[in-house]
């Protein structure tokens, strides 16, 4: 059993070291295809990687490379065609309370207030305790939504909804938290704010986190480890350890040489992948190639 039953986000380093591997996810030789016969589409092919314990692993890859498919496999809503996925040594057979997945599509319940949404997890499990309610208040404060606790999701701005969603996931204090592009569609300003919120929450809890994104800056700012996906059929092409010090601050991270080195390395890998699908005629890849050349010339100039 896990030793960490305290619901505070203040997991100490002692409790971290005492639960080695409990939250580690190993994905080995996983393939996933949809359709049958001639129409088979292989989305993920022979993909292997590890999501290490108590680290923030970020996966980045071109759009459509099978990231969300992988998330559905990790969540247990779908099964791999071949290969297996294990959490703490035990195979994943279905959705479970040990993993908390925040899917790409926003899913705050519109019929519940912000507070009720955040308390949904504890309530569903029959843990509507004072401790959890305090925790909800704390998280509301932390994500800056205290004044909006009694509002319904449609009354919140997009960024507030994302923050509420984060809080709704964090309160369950899951062994593993899996997030699929949680900050998609936000403007730069709120995105950067969200990164700091999220990094702050992570730094307090140091739980195992798996974060999927298509944004390289986001990836580098957040990651302990960075997994770079290949084009479809998806595979992990490279792993980069991002050893920037924590707590991270935006200005600081993007001025550091190390961050820029990591960024250039990741971009050149992604660039290769994008070129592959560009020659295959993908419009998204063309955009990416263009954006890339702009960025790298900027990086060289600066």
């Amino acid at each position: 059993m896990t030793t960490d039953i305290s619901h505070g986000l203040s997991a100490t380093s002692a409790s971290v070291s005492s639960k080695v591997n409990a939250g580690e996810i190993t994905v080995s030789n996983v393939s996933k295809s949809y359709g049958a016969g001639l129409f088979t589409k292989e989305v993920i092919k022979d993909c292997s990687f590890t999501i290490e314990c108590n680290k923030l692993t970020v996966m980045i890859g071109p759009s459509g490379c099978g990231k969300s498919t992988l998330i559905r496999l990790l969540a247990g809503f779908e099964k791999p065609t071949t290969g297996d996925i294990k959490l703490g040594g035990k195979p994943i057979t279905g959705p479970g309370r040990d993993r908390l997945v925040v899917f790409q599509e926003s899913a705050l319940f519109p019929w519940m207030t912000t507070y009720e949404n955040i308390m949904y997890g504890p309530r569903a499990r029959g843990e509507d305790t004072q401790e959890n309610r305090d925790q909800a208040d704390y998280l509301l404060e932390k994500v800056g939504l205290t004044a909006f606790r009694k509002k319904y999701p449609p009354q919140l701005s997009g960024g507030m909804q994302r923050r509420a969603e984060l809080a709704r996931a964090m309160i369950n204090n899951p062994e593993v938290m899996i997030l699929d592009e949680p900050f998609r569609g936000l403007d730069c300003m709120s995105k950067e704010l969200m990164w700091e919120y999220y990094a702050g929450l992570y730094e307090e809890s140091r739980r195992t986190n798996f974060f999927v994104t298509t944004d390289i800056d986001e990836a580098i700012f957040l990651a302990d480890r960075l997994l770079i996906m290949s084009n479809v059929p998806g595979q992990v092409r490279a792993t980069i350890e991002v050893d920037l010090p924590r707590p991270r601050r935006l200005a600081f991270v993007f001025d550091s040489e190390r961050a820029n080195a990591v960024k250039m390395e990741a971009l050149s890998l992604l660039h290769e992948e994008a070129m592959k699908s560009f020659t295959g005629g993908s419009k998204a890849a063309a955009d990416f190639v263009e954006a890339y050349s702009r960025r790298s010339s900027k990086a060289e100039a600066g």
Partner: protein, 441 residues
């Protein structure tokens, strides 16, 4: 002036306020300067103004009775106190404030401030909710005190925080009266009545001359001694309305308590749907009138067949819409619920049911409409009393004005019942009311 705006911007309640409104607020502000040891106000003093510290510091000591966790607090530049002046039902000071050094303050009359926000209620609500947060979190007072900040209920944007079914309806009515709609509607009705009046009574067009004229019907309806025995002054009139309403009530009630669960299960469980849906879809398209003979054979008396027919039509509409409602719920909601640890049954109760609610109420609107339709059909064929019966017998007994009285009554009563269903829906789905109010509808 600019200095004032910068100061206001630093004050917690005004942080979200745009510059031009800040300028308006700054226009209300008065500047004053105090020496060390000056008492700005005592507990129980009349609370008229709020204060913002510009420079210096002020000791703020809440009274014991306020149940604050921390009574003492030092106010520094940018801090706001004296907020009792914006609370509702609170006209006296809750704290004593003493200047700890030479201090410069600005004061703003609480009432003026609230009046200022009446023009932009949405913003007012934001500011007031920040006041509430501040009172609760920074001054550690119980939420009950914080909750006394005013809400700007009358306005559209604040529907979002306050709307209940009733206030929303009242709001809609007042908005409606302000729009050109009622007058266009009056014109529409006048045209209809005009055509009726002229074709029947003035021009006496062929085939129209047998029809009851407008004046005849109106006179009959309001006559204390009606020629054909039915008017607003005869008890029979109300008896017919009551009988029809009772039948509708029973049938609609049964259709709802059976149709909604059926629809929910049809939408939720694939297996259940495979058993039941084909049967359902075979029976549903059969017109209600085709059921009349069987209904009379199946049920004795005149009351039950009519209720049965009414029920049937309602039931199909309700169940089908509920099922569609369940099908349209985004799967990501159920996925989110199960990730958060909800069981299958919990997901059903807490996601499927509320998620389908908007469709259920659309279904109930349709259901009440078809209920009236089949009620009249049923009453015309079998049954005694009821508005359908009135219309049918008046035809056979050549009491033509009474036919129209029956029809008009059906229109009015039918409209009222569907309005009631809509209000019930608004009341039960306040999250949706707020969503719509926000969408400006």
């Amino acid at each position: 002036m600019d200095q004032l705006v910068t100061l206001l911007k630093r004050a917690m309640p005004f942080q979200m306020v745009p510059d031009d409104t800040l300028k308006a607020i700054a226009g209300l502000a008065k500047y004053e300067s105090h020496a060390q040891g000056d008492v700005i106000y005592h507990i129980g003093d009349y609370a008229d103004d709020i204060y913002i510290v510009s420079s210096g510091s002020v000791q703020h000591t809440l009274g014991i009775g306020t149940q604050a966790t921390h009574l003492d607090k030092t106010m520094r530049s940018g801090d706001v106190f004296g907020w009792a002046a914006v609370l509702e039902n609170q006209r006296s000071r809750l704290a004593k404030t003493v200047c700890l050094e030479r201090t410069e303050l600005i004061r703003i009359n609480g009432e003026d401030l609230i009046n200022l926000f009446k023009a932009s209620p949405a913003l007012g609500d934001v500011v007031m909710s920040r006041f509430a947060t501040m009172i609760n979190k920074e001054f550690t007072l119980p939420e009950a005190v914080a909750a006394q900040v005013p809400h700007f209920t009358q306005a559209q944007a604040t529907m979002a925080t306050m709307a209940t079914g009733l206030t929303l309806t009242m709001f809609r009515v007042s908005q409606w009266l302000k729009s050109p709609k009622p007058y266009l509607m009056l014109i529409g009705f006048s045209i209809l009545l005009g055509i009726w009046y002229f074709t029947v009574e003035v021009w006496k067009l062929p085939r129209f001359e047998d029809m009851p004229g407008l004046t005849v019907v109106v006179k009959e309806l309001f006559s204390k001694d009606p020629t054909y025995g039915l008017s607003l002054y005869t008890p029979e009139y109300y008896q017919h309305v009551w009988v029809s309403l009772r039948r509708i009530g029973i049938a609609f009630f049964l259709a709802t308590i059976l149709g909604v669960p059926l629809g929910l299960f049809l939408g939720w469980s694939k297996t259940f749907r495979e058993y039941v849906f084909p049967v359902f879809e075979t029976l549903r398209p059969i017109p209600i009138l085709a059921w009349v003979p069987l209904a009379i054979l199946m049920f004795s008396g005149s009351e039950t067949p009519v209720i049965y027919l009414t029920f049937l039509a309602s039931f199909f509409a309700t169940a089908l819409n509920t099922m569609l409602g369940v099908e349209t719920i985004d799967e990501s909601y159920s996925r989110a619920a199960s990730c958060l640890g909800a069981s299958k049954w919990q997901t059903f109760r807490e996601v499927i049911v509320p998620g389908a609610m908007p469709f259920i109420f659309t279904g109930l609107q349709i259901s009440i409409g078809v209920a009236w339709f089949s009620l009249v059909a049923g009453e015309m064929v079998s049954g005694q009393f009821g508005l359908g019966y009135v219309i049918n017998t008046s035809y056979t007994m050549v009491r033509y004005p009474t036919i129209v009285i029956g029809m008009v009554t059906l229109g009015a009563v039918g409209y009222t019942t569907s309005a009631m269903v809509r209000m019930a829906g608004d009341y039960m789905m306040q999250w949706r009311v707020r969503e719509l109010a926000l969408g400006g509808r």
